[in-house]
Amino acid sequence: MNGARAWPRLVLAWVALVCLLAVSAISSWFDLGPGNLGIALTVAVLKAGLVVIFFMRLRAAPGAVRLAVLLALLMLALLLGLSLTDARERAAVVSGRENAAGTSAGQELP
């Protein structure tokens, strides 16, 4: 049992999480352009990583577990990535159609 030694590590991970929370909260008060989005999402990924590694102990998990998590993340990336492509292409198709028809109506298509 290394329980006694795990305490400081867990508390340190929590301190890091709170510091990251402060970074994302404070950065949202300033106009950083695309940086706002970049910082917010980077901090979220770092926080999730800290929770997964230190609190959920993924690092010590067997290979099958790590493979399951990796595959799930890959599927999620596919889902988000491909739907992003669809959003961009559809916007281009809709604006192309509008130009061809010579109309500016119906601009708010998702």
Binding site: K47, M56, L71, M75, E108
Partner: protein, 209 residues
């Protein structure tokens, strides 16, 4: 329980490993459940960037921030409970109770936010009013906001019940309980991680302006 007929596993360690893989696979299915909501957010945010920014400025920044702190702290409590469970089950039970209390605090703050949203007329379909230029996009943002936070609150409510059950059984001297309590702990951390992504997407992006 060591009877070979009643247990499909050779020993406690094999059962522990199967349980660990099982809860992780469950968590990945939960990821697939929340994933489409995030994909929907991505699509709509690209379609209505200004409306989403304007709408997110109406969410309660301090409530969201305090709630993030509450959930991160509850995760620490659950992790500390897991660390001392074998040596000191009663102390672990207290940490689990602390996590459950923090979960309830989160839900109370979230409830306060919903009441404020109702007064501010930000509940689409029932009571919604927004400036005409961004009305449609803002309404979609708030549909997503309630879907995300509602489903998350439901998960957290289940988590509070499970964590309370673990605390109760630990304080009553339950034995061979680690597989279940570790599963519950991982589920709790996952619910925390979902909020870690909801917080910037709903409360922070577009805050400036």
């Amino acid at each position: 329980m060591s009877g070979a007929a009643s247990e499909p596993y050779e020993n406690a360690q094999a059962r522990q490993r199967a349980s660990e893989l099982g809860i992780w696979v469950f968590i990945t299915t939960e990821l697939m459940f929340f994933g489409p909501l995030f994909a929907g957010y991505l699509q709509l945010r690209l379609a209505f960037p200004e409306a989403f920014a304007a709408a997110s400025r109406h969410t309660l920044f301090w409530s969201g921030t305090v709630n993030t702190l509450v959930l991160l702290t509850s995760s620490l409590a659950v992790a500390l409970a897991g660390e001392c469970q074998r040596r000191a089950p009663r102390r672990a039970a207290r940490w689990f109770v602390a996590a459950a209390v923090l979960g309830v605090v989160f839900l109370v703050i979230k409830g306060y936010e919903y009441v404020e949203d109702w007064h501010e007329q930000l509940v689409p379909g029932l009571r919604f009013s927004f400036d005409a230029a961004h009305r449609h996009g803002a309404e979609l943002f708030y549909y997503l906001y309630f879907a995300f936070t509602g489903v998350h609150a439901l998960h957290l409510t289940v988590g509070v019940c499970l964590v309370s059950l673990v605390a109760w059984r630990l304080s009553h001297g339950a034995q061979e309980f680690e597989a279940f309590s570790e599963g519950v702990a991982r589920y709790w951390h996952f619910v925390d991680i979902v909020w870690v992504f909801l917080y910037p997407l709903l409360y922070l992006i577009g805050r400036y302006g």
